[in-house]
């Protein structure tokens, strides 16, 4: 079953080309010969790594870039091979992708949707990138995903946690390995209930933009289902640096849990401020006051320092995992760079491998063939009975058995609930894995109300 | 009843009574000088005439119409032009461009969105402006940057700009202040020539008695915000009150 089709666009464009080409001494026109956008014709293939290199997420971007370089090395058969040996699919041989040497270009998203699209466009138009990957925020991921859909290349999302990326804004050419707000809520809520009890009053501080809203909605729904009450939800401006005026009202609100739906610099500052105001030492009606940070990142945890100790959150992956895949990845990353990889680095590395694997299995770089290989399988996760439980099942990439689901191009896998470590042994040892929430618990149907409204559309091979 | 009638004008700045009950009339086609010691309120009075200040009480009528509450540009459009103590010209523009702007203002009014034609091709304006440059003896400087000229030339340009609008009343605020003797004499000659050639009323504020007595038909002496005397030049010269208040030295 191939979903590739000759689009009207292709025909029209050829028409335009012939029209425009009359007056010019045409020697060879590249576009008319290609079956899809940027079909690699030489001995190499170019991937586009689009990460934030400037702006507040530059450190995460740098870590993503390290992971990409590592992945390219491994794909080209250099280095120790990393997860290539633990990956359940054995299509990748370390001889590039489909026998073509992997080359790459990098760009700067600046964590702005405009700049990210400009950068991605230059990769596609100038450098002939066949796949774009990366990013450290949902706004950028969704914007670039839309662009790749229009341009007819594959987009392998980096760090993006908003439900919308594979919900209302999902696209046939876009794929997400990272988990999302709903999964965070579903994984975190039971752990929170087990540790803090079912009778809690939560106060939410939420970053006032799309990602913040979807995460808040997810966490509130999941905790309320277990008996918690959501006392208040206050939206904070993205540009806020000092959260004191948002934290102060929490003191007298009667709430006994503070949920910080913040990420990056916002999270570091709001958590620091919350601890400053003594919230962690506060007692409300005989209960210890608690703080929760639903989406954790080790790089951010480092910025928040001492303040993260004992605070629950969820994460996509952590370097202290002991499965073979994680160990192999941490080893090759740590050996090369001298410190363990972040979750952003992990998801980017894995996405690159998954793409390469899909191309190799499909035997073609055609985005439609890649889509078919990446999610078109009939395998399914054990223990979940659902129509939607089908796609490409793989293992050995650090998260256990994982399903790339056909219906929305979202990966389903176990989710890690972590807690800030009380006695870290090193500057990297900041989080400890409290629970690995099984995938069945974070499963949702594609038509779940939080994800409804979108349409994958059809894969677009471009040209 | 003159072309400009100032009646009972008072103005206070905080604790300072700058003008109190000034009444003054300027006759058409005359040169009326207003003199007085520093702080007598000359500049305040002038500012009240051109809309920069609004007096607390009193009225200022120009040709039967009140100027009070109008903006400087409206008052200019009524026919009053002002020359400043330090020449106010468009320093970044060329002399010719400087001269064309008042011509446009006279032709097109206070605002005209004329964004597509070329200003150098507006024949009528160009001709008026160039004629005025010739009148002012500045035709050879037409392409110069206005800011780079001597102070005397700037003054000459400013007066020319005012005249090019054919004002009915020309207000001069110490036109020779800070000028060398030669420049001062040139300016006096220029003003005399204007007075002879044109149907124009001139009100002049001046420190330099030489200038005042060579030009004025009528003189008002202002002291501490009030008109002390108004008379013909020859009478002012001999008036003891004036000597006491203004010249001081003989008292």
């Amino acid at each position: 079953m191939s979903r590739s089709n000759v689009t009207r666009r292709g025909v029209l464009k050829t028409g335009a080309v012939t029209g425009a080409g009359v007056a010019l001494p045409t020697i060879f026109t590249a576009s008319s010969a290609a079956a899809f956008t940027n079909e690699p014709t030489g001995s190499s293939v170019t991937l586009g790594f689009n990460v934030p290199q400037t702006g507040p997420y530059a450190d995460e971007g740098a870590d993503e870039l390290r992971a990409y370089e590592l992945a390219v090395e491994h794909l080209n058969g250099e280095g120790d091979g990393g997860m290539l040996s633990t990956f359940s699919s054995k299509a990748l041989q370390g001889n590039g992708i489909n026998g073509k040497k992997v080359e790459y270009v990098t760009g700067d998203t600046q964590t702005k949707s405009d700049a990210a699209r400009a950068s991605a466009k230059s990769m596609i138009e100038k450098d002939g990138a066949i796949m774009i990957t990366g990013g450290s925020s949902s706004g950028v991921a969704i914007a670039v995903q839309g662009l790749c859909q229009e341009a007819g290349v594959i987009f392998m999302a980096g760090l993006t946690h908003s439900n919308d990326t594979t919900g209302k804004d999902k696209k046939a050419n876009g794929f997400r390995h990272f988990f999302n707000g709903y999964m965070s809520g579903a994984a975190l809520a039971p752990v929170l209930a087990a540790n803090y009890g079912n009778d809690r009053k939560a106060y939410h501080l939420t970053a006032d933009y799309t990602w913040g809203w979807t995460q808040q909605e997810s966490i509130a729904a999941a905790t309320e289902a277990l008996g918690w009450e959501t006392v208040n939800n206050v939206l904070t401006p993205l540009a806020a640096t000092d959260f004191s005026s948002y934290i102060a009202p929490v003191l007298n609100s009667g709430a006994d849990v503070l949920v910080l739906n913040h990420y990056g610099g916002n999270m570091v500052n709001s958590l620091t401020n919350a601890v400053q105001f003594g919230l962690r030492d506060k007692m409300v009606d005989g209960k210890q006051f608690e703080i929760v940070v639903p989406l954790y990142s080790r790089l951010m945890a480092r910025g928040a320092g001492e303040n993260v100790k004992g605070i629950f959150g969820s994460t996509n992956w952590h370097w202290s995992l002991t499965d073979e895949g994680s160990k192999a990845f941490v080893k090759s990353f740590g050996t090369k760079y001298g410190f363990p990889p972040s979750q952003a680095a992990h998801t980017c590395y894995v996405q690159t491998l998954l793409y390469a694997d899909a191309v190799t299995r499909a035997g073609s770089f055609n985005p439609c063939a890649v889509e078919e290989a990446l999610v078109g399988g009939d395998s399914s996760l054990p223990g979940i009975s659902s129509e939607a439980n089908r796609g490409f099942l793989f293992d050995g990439l650090g998260n256990g058995q994982t399903l790339y689901r056909a219906d929305d191009h979202q990966c389903f896998k176990d989710v890690l609930v972590v807690r800030g470590k009380e006695n870290p042994t090193s500057e990297f040892d900041l989080l400890e894995v409290v629970e690995v929430t099984p995938v069945a618990q974070v499963w949702y149907e594609p038509d779940h109300p939080m994800f409804a409204g979108g349409n994958l559309g059809e894969c677009n091979p471009g040209a | 009843m003159g072309i400009l009638d100032i009646k009972d004008v008072s103005k206070r700045f905080g604790g300072l009574q700058a003008l109190s009950d000034v009444t003054l009339s300027v006759k058409e086609n005359s040169v009326h000088a207003i003199i007085g010691p520093n702080g007598a309120g000359k500049s305040t009075l002038l500012n009240c005439l051109v809309g920069k200040l609004i007096p607390d009480t009193g009225s200022v009528m120009f040709d039967g119409k009140s100027v009070l509450g109008r903006s400087p540009y409206e008052i200019n459009q009524m026919g009053i032009s002002r020359v400043f103590q330090t020449p106010e010209i468009f320093g970044d523009l060329t002399v010719l461009e400087n001269m064309m702007i008042p011509c446009f203002a006279s032709r097109d009014g206070a605002f005209e969105l004329n964004a597509l034609s070329q200003f150098m091709k507006q024949r009528d304006v160009l001709e008026t402006a160039e004629a005025m440059l010739v009148d002012m003896n500045m035709a050879d400087k037409r392409g110069m940057h206005a800011a780079s000229m001597s102070r005397g030339d700037k003054r000459r340009l400013e007066i020319g700009m005012c005249l090019s609008q054919n004002p009915r009343l020309l207000l001069l605020d110490e036109p020779t202040a800070g000028m060398a003797r030669a420049d001062t004499n040139n300016t006096i000659d220029l003003l005399k020539e204007i007075k002879e050639k044109r149907d124009i009323t001139i009100a002049i504020i001046e420190h330099d008695m030489h200038v005042v007595f060579s030009l004025a038909d009528r003189i008002t002496v202002l002291a501490q915000g009030t008109p002390l005397v108004e008379d013909d030049p020859q009478n002012i010269r001999g008036n003891p009150k004036v000597r006491e208040a203004y010249l001081g030295e003989s008292a």
């Binding site: 530059a58 640096t241 004191s244 102060a248 610099g265 570091v268 620091t272 105001f277 928040a304 | -």
Partner: protein, 340 residues
């Protein structure tokens, strides 16, 4: 009531930072007539003085602990700061603990030097240039400074915790019988800001140096005619303004962990503060700083955001517009400054 007072405290605290930055900006603008877009960067460098001292104090030698392993499974290297081995673990730990307050000692000379170098090396050549050029060149400098910091310290925020003794909260309302828990360090910051502001005003009011500078702010040419070397004094003023910004930055670290772009975050806001206060007016800058801080705090309360959605996002700008339209030269501005 408690909530109300807490927000007043928050406002004063935010206002302290605004006021200190705006004070420095106004000193520079008032004396030198230069619009300094790099002032936020000076604030940021101040904060990184604290980070640097913290790093220096934490310089460590490594010993290998065979019993533990690191993330790659190799024996763990345990780091011991030199300070601890020199002064003994306890004294050493205390010194490290007090890194932020100690940084003041480092920041004053460093910031003065940076300020002097900036004025002599760059700003000096821009006195006669249009404000737009000044803005552009100092903006360029701000970018360069912040990128250099980013190169060394990375983009992520870095914790600079306050000394153990100044952590936690104190009940500031206890005296009047109210329950007003407030973070100690924020109280420290407010007091610190008050002292600096007071010191600057006293300096300008009561010293001959200050008198000359004030006269120079009022009319530069006249003072020049008196044969006083006003330029040198202005250079020193620039250094002082830089030091004020730097100190504001040093002490700000424990409130919010410093990152390389914190200067830019404050820049626009502090310009709004300066303008609302009135260009060139020192009391205006301080007043506007506290005023906007308090208004910002109140706008972020649930009451305000439910009454007018999004008010917390725009309050500062809204106030700026209203003030500028009703009071043409800001709250306490002088006539004719920066209007051409």
């Amino acid at each position: 009531m408690d909530g109300f007072l807490l927000q007043v405290l928050n406002g004063l605290d935010k206002g302290s930072a605004y006021a200190l930055i705006a004070l420095g900006l106004t000193l520079i603008f008032g004396t030198l007539g230069v619009v300094n877009f790099a002032h936020g960067a000076l604030f940021m460098i101040g904060a990184f003085c604290a980070v640097t001292l913290q790093r220096v104090l934490n310089l460590s030698f490594e010993t290998i602990d065979e019993t533990k392993t690191d993330f790659l499974g190799n024996p763990l290297k345990v780091k011991t700061p030199y300070v601890e081995s020199w002064f003994g673990p306890e004294v050493g730990a205390t010194i490290i603990d007090w890194a932020v307050p100690l940084s003041i000692l480092l920041a004053i000379p460093v910031m003065l030097l940076i300020g002097l170098a900036m004025e002599r090396g760059l700003i000096k050549h821009f006195y006669k240039r249009p404000h737009a050029d000044q803005i552009l060149v100092t903006f360029g400098l701000a970018i360069v400074l912040q990128e250099i910091i980013k190169l060394w310290f990375g983009a992520n925020p870095i914790q600079t915790p306050p000394p153990e003794a100044l952590m936690g909260v104190a009940n500031v309302g206890a005296i009047v019988g109210l329950d007003l828990p407030y973070p100690i360090w924020r109280i420290v910051y407010f007091c610190f800001a008050a002292i600096i502001i007071f010191a600057v005003f006293a300096f300008l009011q009561f010293t001959t140096f200050g008198m000359v500078v004030r006269a120079g702010m009022a009319d530069r040419e006249t003072v020049g005619l008196l044969g006083i070397n006003i330029d040198r004094r202005f250079t020193i003023m620039f250094g002082m303004a830089a030091a004020v910004a730097g100190l504001a930055g040093v002490m700000y670290g424990p409130i919010n962990p410093p990152n390389y772009h914190m200067g830019m975050d404050f820049l626009v806001l502090s310009f709004v503060v300066v303008v609302v206060g009135g260009m060139g007016s020192l009391p205006g800058a301080v007043l506007a700083g506290f005023l906007l801080g308090i208004l910002e705090s109140f706008a972020s309360t649930t009451w305000a955001t439910t009454t007018i959605p999004g008010i917390n996002q725009i309050i500062i700008y809204l106030v700026a517009i209203i003030v500028l339209l009703t009071r043409p030269r800001g709250l306490m501005g002088r006539k004719g400054v920066m209007e051409e």
